[in-house]
Subunit: 331 residues, 2 copies
């Protein structure tokens, strides 16, 4: 009676909101994008393409779809992908979501519509509900994206409750980028423990997977029933993050591993940098020896020469490495 057993395994573990390289004319650089995705996959890192750190909202819907087409055409496995598809309009969100589902992506990471603020729970519910119904595909797996520092509009436990009740198979989980462990814990306790219990007693056919938006909460998340992390720094430090994900309940040094991950993250989160996105791209430029990687689309700005030096020095000081990334160089 378990429908889940007839479905593909849900995507779990470590995913990167893949940073998007741009050419001098600011158009997405497909070849570098493909190569970075391949590098991430080679380190067991899934592809949450078109996330906040991907500058997805700085691209048009067409540009995002063309990039996804290019990844699939390059032979990259869609079952390792969770593209971001949440826009301000139902029409664009449905278009991007249907496109991702059609490609066989494991799921989609969906922002709430983020233009209007202080919208009602009923309005947000109708939005997601309309998207599920319009996509109308049993393969649809939505991961709700809670990132209040950026989107301002957030996802509440009550919203998850309503959506899970109405669409138990389409609502697959969430990413919590609140940066507030207590908030993550609330969702874990409310939905993961309960759905796991229900699944155990065969009363439900689904789970609700909670990803933390930063690997600094990875160990805590795994210890409390979480599914992994979708984290910006997975773009540069995928192997070490995946190691902790894999060993969280078997290794003896998990607290030490977590501490080391935090040290790397702190380097990129330095408030002297204009954004973590620009710092991540600068690091790839450094380690791949490929300055093309530094570009961001406005309104973001790249690191100054001084900031780039600081980042390089800070990374050197912690013996940071990105094994194999230099294959990103050249065409």
């Amino acid at each position: 009676m378990f429908v889940r057993n007839q479905m593909p395994e849900p995507i779990r573990g470590v995913l990167a909101p893949v940073v998007t390289p741009f050419r001098a004319d600011l158009s997405p650089d497909r070849q570098r994008f493909i190569r970075h995705c391949q590098w991430l996959l080679s380190h067991n890192c899934g592809l949450a393409v078109f996330g906040t750190n991907s500058e997805a909202n700085s691209m048009s819907a067409e540009e995002r779809m063309a990039l996804l087409d290019a990844l699939v055409a390059a032979g990259i496995d869609p079952s390792r992908m969770m593209p971001g598809t949440g826009c301000c309009s139902i029409t664009e969100t449905v278009e991007l979501t249907a496109h991702a589902v059609k490609h066989g992506c494991a799921g989609v990471l969906m922002l709430p519509p983020f233009y209007y603020k202080n919208v009602s729970e009923e309005g947000l519910y109708r939005y997601f509900s309309e998207v599920v119904q319009r996509v109308g595909d049993t393969r649809l797996k939505i991961y709700l994206y809670h990132i209040p520092p950026v989107a301002i509009v957030g996802i509440t436990p009550k919203m998850v409750e309503r959506l899970l009740t109405a669409y138990p198979t389409a609502i697959a989980g969430m990413k919590d980028s609140s940066g507030d462990w207590n908030n993550t814990k609330t969702f874990l306790d409310a939905f993961v423990v309960r759905t796991a219990r229900a699944a155990h007693t065969a009363r439900a056919a689904r789970t609700f997977d909670v990803f933390v938006g930063s690997e600094s909460f990875l160990l805590a998340n795994m210890r409390n029933g979480g599914a992994g992390t979708i984290s910006a720094t997975a773009n540069v430090n995928p192997a070490a993050i995946h190691k902790l994900y894999k060993e969280w309940n078997t290794a003896d040094d998990t607290d030490q591993q977590q501490s080391k991950l935090n040290v790397v993250r702190e380097v990129f989160g330095n408030r002297r940098f204009p954004s973590m996105i620009a710092a991540l791209k600068q690091a790839i430029a450094i380690y791949a020896n490929d300055p093309e990687w530094t570009r961001v689309r406005p309104p973001l700005v790249e690191l100054t020469a001084g900031e780039a030096k600081l980042l390089a020095a800070d990374l050197k000081a912690i013996d940071f490495a990105m094994p194999g990334i230099d294959c990103s160089r050249g065409r």
Copy 2:
């Protein structure tokens, strides 16, 4: 030597961020949209289509362009239009802006990119700069849209200063929806008075027009060198707002007129309603006797039956009328 004399007169006065009617399937209702625009024009109200109150960000770029095409095809004068074209991505903003310029629109109202928060002034400058250069059309007239309660990302005097210096003819003005008169006054003093003085001494060929985002500041704006108002309630009360605009420095009862406008606005701004947008649409539904008008796109919600009754009663109590609006009924 005045370039301005060779250019069409800038659009000024009262403009409505035209509310967008939706069909039962939530697709934009072109015929009702055209009729409402015609009604507004018949009351001397310009068309700031695709504004915040138009639910523009709840529509795709394609839907917005198709609606503008429909207005022009219906014979509506583009020199009376100031479409909203600011999206989160440069690519979409350029596409929408170029489309509006090509149609001969008087100007475009441009939101800053509003996904990323706390972005640098340099990043925002580069964004607008890139848009101006990519559109690359001398007819381009940008009105910067400052609406911090919704977009969070705002327009500062320093940003206007930089953009005006770099693009003196493309940067035509702004809409201030901060709701803070002191902020509007800062912009008026910094740019309007100065540019007017410069124009007087033939040192500059341009003006910088400041529109207030609410008619409650119309009289104050006009008394301080402003250009008019782009206001939600112009959707339902255009004639009275235009009367004050026209007579602000000649009539004896301007303060009384302003007070009356404020009374109408207060009815629509009632915090018991889910949004002013829904209340405006409900009022059109009531006065045009056309319930089709009540629909909004999620995440917004329409008024409940009780709220609709309250609105009707409040409007009746102030003898509110929308002369000629009932022609909106039928096809």
